[in-house]
């Protein structure tokens, strides 16, 4: 996996240096899944994820148009794209908050994931939907770290550079996030149809040590 993605990064960098537009097509092809999956699991809504992904790629093109070849050659394309995506996402939330000041949007269940119904296996889809709801209950840092590590498959070093945190901090966000998800899953299984709610006290999600 590591070697394969390194090759992909290299291929993208070469293509971008050779020709910005042709290279953009290679960049998009290589990382659309990474960016879209991350966007979808961060914002939780299909249509918003499309908007965020389109905007992030457009911004990346505009940035690349101004970069010198040397800068493109030293680019870490995945971490760079995810950083752009996170900025777009934070900006969109600020704008949305100013417009609607509604907290319910964020907490609402995920209605808009049409492809999960048609394309994914039924059992996967159900797990996915439940899990998507639980992901949204994680504190933001944990959610971002878990999504980048386990949905987007980004290595710890790149997540650390995206979040501008030490690797140790990233690892602890991830492990606390996973721990919390396990608790939420256990609670959901135990509590039948009750909406999934953390059984853990505040100390568990915020973490002291």
């Amino acid at each position: 996996m590591g070697v394969a993605t390194l090759d992909a990064d290299d291929r993208v960098r070469h293509a971008l240096v050779a020709d910005l537009d042709g290279g953009f097509a290679v960049l998009y092809e290589a990382y659309q899944r990474l960016v879209f999956s991350t966007a979808l699991r961060l914002c939780g809504r299909w249509a918003d994820a499309e908007d965020l992904t389109a905007e992030a790629f457009l911004r990346s093109y505009r940035a690349l148009a101004a970069y010198e070849p040397a800068r493109i050659r030293s680019l870490q394309p995945r971490a760079w794209l995810v950083t752009i995506l996170l900025n777009v996402w934070r900006n969109s939330r600020r704008t949305a908050a100013r417009r609607t000041q509604s907290v319910q949007l964020e907490a609402a269940p995920d209605p808009a994931d049409p492809r999960e119904d048609v394309e994914h296996a039924v059992q996967l889809s159900e797990t996915g939907r439940e899990l998507a709801g639980m992901l949204r209950q994680l504190p933001e840092q944990q959610r971002i770290a878990v999504v980048l590590r386990h949905v987007a498959d980004l290595p710890i070093t790149e997540i650390a550079s995206v979040l501008r945190s030490p690797e140790g901090t990233v690892k602890s966000h991830i492990s606390r996030g996973l721990q919390r998800l396990r608790e939420l899953q256990a609670a959901a299984e135990g509590g039948a149809h009750k909406p999934a709610r953390g059984t853990a006290g505040p100390a568990n999600s915020r973490g002291g040590a």
Partner: protein, 267 residues
């Protein structure tokens, strides 16, 4: 706690490809197609046609077209597999009214100007002031000229059919020579338009029908010399008992207080 447990497998399974059509919200597509004079480079987005250049305007080079597109729109440009829907028929007939255009890069004023220009039929010309009046901004004649000069989709939105009321053809994105060639290819009688304008006439009327037209309107062009009269303004024609043609729709110039009567058009 291992990384290979059920939870992380479930998380990995949440990765999803973006919808296939999402790339078209980011990147525009381009094609090169035969136009009325030489080939045209045409770029379009998911909303419609957004940019047109003649082959001569980009020195016959794909890269030069891409560069001018990038400079103006800052958006990736990829090759299209086929021309946008309706482009072929629009180019054959010179009627582009049914095409979809992406005019996001233009201001509201510019868009109003362009939509009005789009309605000018092939083989006819209208003055800049006519557009200004049509969009309810009769004083903004100069701004109409600037808006047309920034037309991102020339040839298709026929800004070449907007000319000066003094009978000269005026400026054009691709130079006034190209404008003249396009108008001649549409069989506009530029000499006649010029001769009328020199004589001070911007409209022609028929004394048998009592209808007054723009000189390039097919109804105006049908009038035989014996029955044809030139007018300075629609007010003057109306004062002489004429009514404006419902096809080419000339409109009053509110600022014009001229009460001139009809004169016979010089041969």
């Amino acid at each position: 706690m291992t990384d290979n447990d059920l939870l992380t497998t479930e998380l990995a399974a949440m990765a999803t490809d973006a919808p296939a059509e999402l790339l078209d919200r980011v990147a525009a597509r381009w094609v090169r197609v035969p136009g009325p004079l030489g080939d045209l480079y045409v770029a379009s987005t998911d909303l419609g046609i957004s940019f047109v250049r003649t082959d001569t305007a980009v020195q016959d080079e794909d890269a030069a077209f891409a560069a001018s597109f990038r400079k103006r729109f800052a958006r990736p440009l990829l090759p299209a597999t086929r021309p946008p829907a309706g482009l072929g028929p629009a180019l054959r007939t010179g009627r582009a009214g049914a095409l979809r255009f992406d005019l996001r890069g233009s201001t509201e004023f510019e868009q109003a100007v362009l939509r009005t220009a789009l309605a000018i039929p092939k083989g006819q010309v209208r003055p800049y002031s006519w557009i200004a009046r049509q969009i309810g901004r009769p004083r903004a004649v100069r701004a109409v000229g600037s808006a047309l000069a920034r037309n991102p989709v020339p040839v298709l939105i026929p800004c070449h059919r907007v000319t000066r009321s003094d009978g000269t053809i005026g400026d054009y994105v691709f130079g006034s020579e190209m404008k003249e060639s396009l108008l001649r290819a549409e069989r506009v009688n530029l000499e006649e338009v010029r001769a009328l304008a020199r004589a001070g006439f911007h409209y022609v009327g028929s004394d048998t029908t009592g209808i007054v037209c723009f000189p390039t309107c097919p109804h105006g062009r049908r009038i035989t010399a014996a029955h044809r009269h030139g007018f300075r303004s629609i007010e003057a024609a109306e004062a002489a008992g004429y009514r404006p043609c419902q096809y080419c729709r000339p409109v009053r110039e509110h600022t014009d207080t001229d009460r001139e009567v009809a004169d016979a058009v010089p041969e």
